[in-house]
Amino acid sequence: MFALPLPRNNKRGIFMQQTLEISKQNSVQQRIAKYNRLLWRLGRGRPISFSLVLILWYWVAHSGKVKSFLLPTPEAVFETFHRVLTDGDNVFDSTLWYHTSATLGRVLPGLAIGLTIGISLGYIIAKSPLLETLLSPIVVAFQSMPIVAYAPVLVIWFGTGSQSKILTCVLIVFFPMLMNTIVGIRSVPQNLRDLMKMYRASRWQMFRKLEVPAALPILLTGMKTSATLSVIGAVVGEFIVANEGLGVLITEARGSYNTPLVFVSAISMSALASTLYSIVAFIERRFMRR
């Protein structure tokens, strides 16, 4: 948002931006806008849409049209959820929390490192056409190889411990951040750059005081995309080789044809990723309202 000549009422925040200005008269559009806003306040989205999904799920699962081993009932999943939360799963006797925290322990450093690399490399590339032409083909080439291609190398170089999972997470997370950093930094208006130059702003000041706030909406979009994908990143690493983590839990669940447990693992992954996404969205709302 900030990179741009701002719309007049932008201060009302990102969600409201599209609300018609013609809103105090009784046009149809405006009633819809009001209604939208009301619903939004009521719902804040998440509870509403999850309830809808849950109802749909319940309905389909109980309709008898889908085999229960493909789509277990919500109750069965909830029961399994309850069980693995308290007693643990059947192979390791470890609880859901144990696996989740193992994955989280890889996602967090992975995300942190991936975002850092994405932003740094993106910044450098945005600034240097030379580096762009040299690096971007390599980056693209590596990003488009599936991890199985280099999995053995990963495992052998980084061991079977957490490092290789952090690395797969980094690999998945850094790319969207890189791309958005490049376009974000490049979208900073030249006239504001000139302004900063007039005050002989240092590189760091240029970055901190101009480029970051000006590119913020685009950077945050990169972060949201990365946050969403980060859990998959770690889980993919866990698929290759691991002793614990949600990736192990879901493989084990699939291996023992325990569909409810598959669902529990998948939902836990979603919950993790959604939480990370929400944190970024929260930061966005904090910084972009004002």
Binding site: F2, P5, N191, M196, R200
Partner: protein, 247 residues
């Protein structure tokens, strides 16, 4: 400490298009020079070269003895557009130069509150640029230059979006400030009255590629007052400039 500004056979080309020059001018330290000329003749380009934001294609520009290659801390520039940062309040926009210079937040705040009445923006310290009218934004930009206390002032149509009253008021305030600190000042303007009222010299530029076609000294006594605009000498000078532009 004000300082000389000179250009020597300065030419700026954009690709095949010659936008400016050749222009050779000497501006003494502490002089107030106004530049007038038709739209698109290269006034902004000249100011940008003096600011170190635009490279010369031929010739050179000097700040004191130094060839201008990059912006200098001693130079304050007001751009033709307000150029505010939309994510900063009026207050923080004005304080930007101090912030970059590492001045503490309290001092910054004090300095801004000193300026706000002059800019007639007392009620808007906490407002964001998207809540300002065109003229208010321009006043914020002016505040941002003034707070910097530069030795050289480069002003590119600083009062374009101000109404007549505010404009007179602010230009006189600017003049008072200049009389105190005696910066070297170069101002682009479309308003011939304003040019005469404020400056020691008016440079008249030809259409693109702009060259200096007239260099008119304004010997009106200082400090200046709005009443001087009714003097015959004032009217005569304005008339001369008007004619020079028409050439």
């Amino acid at each position: 400490m004000s300082i000389n500004l000179t250009t020597h056979n300065l030419v700026v080309e954009f690709g095949a298009l010659r936008a400016l020059g050749p222009v050779s001018i000497q501006i003494q330290a502490g002089q107030f020079v106004a530049i007038v000329g038709p739209s698109g003749c290269g006034k902004s380009t000249l100011i940008r070269v003096l600011a170190g934001l635009q490279a010369a294609s031929f010739g050179e520009a000097r700040l004191g003895e130094q060839i201008i290659r990059q912006p200098s801390m001693r130079v304050g520039m007001m751009f033709q557009s307000a150029n505010l940062m939309p994510w900063r309040t009026v207050m923080d926009n004005i304080a930007l130069p101090l912030e970059l210079a590492g001045i503490s937040s309290i001092e910054r705040q004090a300095a801004v509150y000193d300026l706000l009445p002059l800019l007639n923006l007392e009620d808007f310290a906490k407002a964001y640029p998207d809540e300002l009218s065109g003229g208010m934004a321009q006043r914020v930009a002016l505040g941002r230059v003034l707070i910097q206390k530069p030795d050289v002032l480069l002003l590119d149509e600083p009062f374009g979006a101000l109404d007549a009253m505010t404009r007179e008021q602010i230009s006189l305030d600017l003049l008072a400030m200049w009389a105190r600190d005696r910066q070297t000042a170069v101002m682009v303007t479309h308003d011939i009255h304003e040019a005469v009222l404020l400056s020691d010299r008016v440079l008249v530029m030809s259409p693109r590629p702009g060259q200096i076609v007239e260099d008119i000294a304004v010997d009106l006594p200082r400090p200046r007052h709005i009443e001087q605009t009714y003097d015959t000498e004032f009217a005569y000078l304005a008339q001369t400039i008007r004619k020079a532009i028409r050439l």
